[in-house]
């Protein structure tokens, strides 16, 4: 998907994998494989794991996944190129995804993306020279009631404007600790990739239950006095 153009993109060179890193990946991969009845199911999380250690999916990472899952490197590469979250060149410390699907685009996502390109001097899928920010247009991120939306390392930044977005990337580049508008403290790209490989980072308790838009229905309902009747009497509210 994401296209034939991505397929044409060669994998960037990387630092060779140390023996210690290899051992660590092998051990973590075993943990992942144990979660599935068949080990090939571990491939997607293992590729997230490679990104967690190396910042992107390296040729050596592909070879290691192939070896551990008894696949050819061509089979693994075919999977890598299919999914947009797998990157074949180094990603900045912060991946900034601007939703430019229709709803967000209309509500201001296009303006935000345009402003960030100008401000950072980069285009789609490019990284700033200081290695801080990789900018990408993303598809609908299931936060349309907060449009326009921006994701930083896959944490929600809701209800953005061109000014709030440029301020956000400035703070990220300056190394400030930034917290999602709805979610957790923003971790590095590699830390999030480890989480997505299925390794709990123990931070589920950060952030609120919900943002303001999520709550609007229950707030309105509490005014109209909805009662949840049960067959055996009433339950709550």
């Amino acid at each position: 998907m994401s296209g034939t153009s991505r397929d044409a993109q060669p994998t960037a060179p990387a630092e060779p994998m140390s023996a210690a890193l290899r051992d660590k990946l092998v051990a973590d991969a075993a943990t992942i494989m144990a979660r599935y009845p068949r080990k090939r199911s571990a491939l997607l999380p293992m590729l997230h794991l490679v990104q967690a250690e190396q910042g992107f999916v390296t040729a050596e990472g592909i070879a290691l996944c192939a070896e551990l899952l008894e696949l050819s490197t061509a089979e693994v590469s075919a999977v890598v190129t299919f999914y947009t979250m797998y990157k074949r060149r180094p990603v900045g410390r912060y991946h900034v995804g601007v939703c430019t699907n229709t709803l967000c685009a209309v509500m201001g996502g296009d303006a935000i993306f345009g402003r960030l390109c100008e401000h950072l001097g980069i285009g789609n899928d490019e990284t700033t020279d200081d290695g801080a920010i990789t900018l990408e247009r993303v598809e609908c991120n299931a936060a349309c009631d907060y449009a326009p939306v921006l994701m930083v390392n896959w944490e929600f930044f809701d209800n953005q404007t061109p000014a709030s977005a440029t301020d956000l990337v400035d703070r990220l580049r300056a190394g400030a600790q930034v917290t999602a508008t709805r979610g957790a403290r923003v971790a590095s790209f590699t830390e999030i990739e480890r989480l997505l490989a299925g390794f709990d980072d123990g931070r589920a308790d950060e952030g609120p239950s919900a943002g303001p838009a999520t709550l609007r229905g229950v707030e309105a309902a509490s005014k109209t006095g909805w009662r949840l009747e049960t067959s055996s009497g009433e339950e709550s509210r």
């Binding site: 998907m1 997230h48 229709t102 349309c144």
Partner: protein
């Protein structure tokens, strides 16, 4: 005329630490599981059939019937797969549900797995939502520690393992058979059906695939009984559901109401279309459902009535656009989305969506001709019903419906040499700054 809201799945959204087991249990959490375990699996399936619950992932297939297709006593492993890939443009109900109330989903998973005799369940969460993934993972781990999941669920002898799996960015993986391929570690491409997943699904074994909201609705049915559930809604569309309002509306958000509420009623609760503007077009259930207009404000939002006006209830993602929005631009962007997300397996979709994008580019740049409208409709004819999976059909929905309702606006792009709209006027910050503040429209 305002909507009667009915928060069940959303009832904990405003509660402090709602995502924890402790808070969930204080609000009837895991009561439904205990009730279900007092029944045989067949009885649980019957209760869900009696409730009238239909799938909330878009197609509205009766949930109990789907479970009933799983062969009982065949000796093969069975699997439950929860579709938490939520990526249909406009759709934003499952992600906040999993963030605020993940235990409702986990409880539903356990009950469903028990009913279909599955000992391993998977929750396939799209990868681009780190905090939601954390909350689901943490809820599953809490459920293990409490003995709700594991070798002997609440001493019943039923064994269940749950794996929380992150996707990696691909809309097509929401299509249920593509999801199975993806979960098996492959490119997410749809499978030929039959065989249906109930017969040969994950690893070729009988598998149930359900949407997050469908599964999360099950505990309330077990707690309160099928009659309670089916008392809500309309004749063939039972129960409560989450409607997501987004776009040019005063208070966008998640509104849970009985099926059959109208957009007019929901807008009333949500403060109406943004001040000083009027409704132009809207989607009833994501970008893959044909757009509707102000003439449809009083259509009951259930499966039958929305179908009767030529659209689909879909995911109940109500994207609201006012008169400042260019419909050609909106549909052009959706077409780019479908072209980007087409898995490339079949020609009508792969080629058709590519040509959509070329034609829309011409129209937006003022290089289009009136013939281009016919070309768009011809392409749509070639995709619709000929594509291998429903993504292709979905791609045609915004194109054909927008030409149907707004042909003049397409013509204006041809005759006027491009788009007559100011994109700055449709933004949320249109009032706040001058248009030079807004940056270029790429």
């Amino acid at each position: 005329m305002t909507a009667q809201l009915s928060p069940v799945l959303t009832r904990l959204y405003g509660v402090d630490r709602s995502w924890t087991r402790e808070v969930y249990e204080a609000h009837q959490g895991y009561v439904g599981l205990r009730a279900a375990l007092r029944h045989t699996p067949e009885e649980v399936i019957q209760l869900v059939k009696d409730s009238g619950l239909r799938g909330r992932g878009g197609a509205g297939f009766p949930t109990g019937m789907k479970w009933g297709f799983i062969p009982q006593g065949d000796g093969a492993p069975h699997y439950l797969v929860v579709n938490a890939d939520e990526s249909e443009p406009g759709t934003c109900k499952d992600i906040p549900l999993m963030m605020a109330n993940p235990h409702e989903l986990v409880e539903g998973v356990i009950i469903t797995a028990y009913a279909i005799r599955a000992n391993h369940a998977f929750i396939y969460v799209r990868g681009e939502v780190a905090h939601v993934y954390r909350r689901v993972l943490s809820a599953v781990n809490e459920a293990y520690r409490a003995g709700y999941v594991g070798p002997d669920v609440l001493g019943s002898g039923f064994e269940l393992q749950i794996t929380v799996h992150a996707g990696a960015g691909a809309y097509i993986c929401g299509e249920e058979t593509a999801l199975l391929d993806s979960l098996e570690g492959r490119r997410g491409q749809p499978r030929l059906r039959p065989p249906f997943p109930a017969v040969a699904g994950l690893y070729g074994s009988p598998t149930v695939i359900n949407n997050v909201e469908s599964i999360a609705s099950v505990p309330s049915i077990m707690r309160n009984g099928p009659a309670w559930f089916s008392a809500m809604g309309t004749e063939k569309s039972k129960g409560m559901t989450i409607y997501s309002l987004s776009g040019h509306v005063t208070r966008p958000g998640q509104y849970e109401a009985p099926l059959g509420v109208t957009l007019r009623e929901l807008l009333e609760v949500a403060g109406g279309v943004r001040e000083g503007h009027e409704l132009k077009f809207w989607t009833p259930g994501g970008s893959s459902t044909p757009i509707l207009t102000a003439e449809h404000l009083d259509v009951p939002l259930d499966y039958e009535a929305v179908g009767a006006v030529g659209s689909m209830l879909g995911t109940k993602a109500l994207q609201i656009f006012d008169e400042t929005t260019c419909v050609v631009r909106a549909v052009a962007r959706w077409s780019e989305f479908y072209a980007h997300e087409s898995c490339g397996k079949c020609t009508p979709c792969r080629e058709g969506t590519y040509w959509y994008v070329q034609i829309f580019e011409r129209l937006e740049n003022g290089e289009g001709s009136e013939d281009d409208l016919d070309k768009l409709l011809d392409l749509s004819d070639n995709i619709f019903g000929r594509a291998f999976c429903a993504l292709g059909d979905g791609a045609t929905s915004p194109v054909t419906s927008s030409i149907h309702y707004f042909r003049d606006e397409f013509i204006a792009h041809v005759r006027g040499g491009g788009c007559p709209f100011d994109p700055a006027a449709s933004t949320v910050f249109a009032m706040a700054g001058s248009s030079s503040e807004l940056g270029a429209n790429p």
